[in-house]
Symmetry: C2
């Protein structure tokens, strides 16, 4: 399958890495809104093009993986390109999923293309596990824990505080909460009881550290509902200890099948690189998009709508023989 | 959906329990090869019928859940009833899956029905996790661990030894092996290094315990490749401590997305009741069978061929709003 990548930030590079691990996938172009001549990509021999080339609707790609932000990029880009190509994105603004789904559905159906939205690990693999578990055990409860890992959104929020040069924010599940959920206690947990947050901050010289710490800890939505620890470090330490983008977490589902018969299902991820794993999920579902579309299927889809066999490069016979 | 259960052993009763947890599912009959008058089931007001009633092909059921053994029952029953009804089974004889799939496919396609085979947790939920993980990270390796839990096949094998009145056999993963796999070491592990076996045996009075222990430990296929511990206990202790059928295990997949970027995916189950959880999986996939068939789909399917949304009683809109 011929893949185009739109956007070459962390996620775009993650997709690029994932493509190299799939022998049936070929990166044919990276599209950028920047001046293409300013961008050097890791894969040799693959052109960097302007999005203007995409806009013609005539690029020779089987699927376009759109690596933009959920706030402003994807709500515009995904429906736009769904009208021309099979597309897939990792849209993660929960409240706006119905609207985004409807927009992509309309565009892709009219074009006879597939548009997969909200694909990655959460939303994505974690969502799948919430659906499988709750379908198998309807009388139960799902808990999602994130981390330990770097939250890029929270790191960015801290970077916007005056006097902050750099920040890496780790989201960390509370061990006692994890323990209670794994024991099947089905506890009611507040936001504060589920996760803590830890910030490693490089401050500008002479900045008021107490004020920065206070601004972080009281920031609404991002930090005020959590117990947050702030460490001020220097740039060398940041570079040495915090240059990766690890992440992970667990979906834990506890349910009963009859009086006193309880079952705990846990799906967990430990990821060295959040963008490379997300990119890997996108490439597997990109394969599904191409295959489904070649069977005549069109419209918006999520991970819930796609049979697992479509993700694998193996045939049905091979899957049944080796993985069933 | 109107469900019939064929066979009323541990698994049939597990399916019966699961149906009670699904408000859109109704148990309409239990079918048995025994004299129906000798069988009392837990659900009031539901008839017990002879399989002769099923054989007419005229029973008013949307799907038949076939709860027979993989060795001799299912290879005959599933194709037979796939020619008349939507059916689902938990066939688990790995080597014979291609043949069973082909037989069910032929019968169900000719009848315009769906036949889902090999559904439960392994094969079933574990298989799904092997496929998802290997599709997302093709450069990686899957490990499956079972237990701690009761293996009914191994318990039965010990019961066939002369002088044994009862046995409960637990399969137990070796902690050091689990640890190495979770650490992403991708070790090469022998059968003996992955699991140990523990047998609780009630012997006949005066039986030669040393001989029984020796026969267990050297039994080919079942025990000879494992480190096995044998405990002789009395019937009271068996009843007090070993009357349940707990099970579980983990699929752990470790893969890389690029040099030095490793990811570990783990799916684990802790089940109070193996048959009730298996029954719960069967009911969720039975829902999928009915829905797919109502859309005109026919033929043999496995868990790989079914989009997760088909398993859930929730609509696509509800799934996207609450579980994505």
């Amino acid at each position: 399958m011929k893949i185009g990548i739109l956007g070459y930030g962390n996620l775009g590079r993650g997709v690029e890495a994932a493509i190299k691990k799939n022998s049936d996938a070929e990166l044919v172009a990276v599209y950028t809104r920047r001046d293409p001549s300013t961008l050097t990509i890791r894969t040799e021999g693959v052109p960097v093009k302007s999005t203007a080339a995409l806009d013609t609707g005539k690029e020779d790609i089987d699927v376009l993986i759109i690596c933009g932000g959920s706030a402003t990029d994807l709500p515009v880009m995904t429906p736009k390109y769904a009208a021309m190509y099979n597309v897939i994105d990792s849209f993660d603004t929960h409240a706006r999923v119905p609207e985004h789904f409807a927009n992509v559905d309309k565009a892709s159906k009219e074009a006879g293309k597939i548009g997969i939205i909200s694909c990655g690990w959460d939303p994505g693999m974690f969502s799948l596990n919430r659906v499988y578990a709750s379908a198998v055990l309807p009388d139960g409860q799902a808990y999602t824990f994130w981390g330990k890992g770097v939250s890029q959104g929270h790191s960015d929020a801290v970077r916007r505080i005056e006097g902050v040069r750099d920040c890496r924010q780790y989201t960390i599940p509370v061990p006692a909460a994890l323990e209670r959920v794994r024991n099947g206690e089905n506890p009611a947990l507040t936001t504060r009881e589920k996760h803590t947050r830890e910030c490693f901050v490089v401050a500008e010289e002479g900045a008021d550290l107490a004020r920065i710490e206070q601004e972080i800890k009281t920031m609404p939505n991002y930090f005020s509902d959590y117990d947050t620890t702030v460490h001020f470090i220097d740039e060398a330490e940041m570079k040495r200890d915090h240059s990766g983008l690890p992440h992970g977490g667990s979906v834990i589902y506890s349910g009963t099948s009859s009086e006193g018969q309880q079952h705990v299902i846990e799906y967990s991820l430990k990821l060295d690189s959040n963008p490379e794993f997300t990119g890997s999920v996108l490439v597997a579902f990109a394969r599904a998009a191409v295959r489904l579309n070649s069977e005549g299927v069109s419209g918006a889809k999520t991970v819930f709508d796609i049979a697992p066999a479509y993700l694998s490069a193996l045939s049905g016979e091979e899957l049944r023989a080796h993985l069933l």
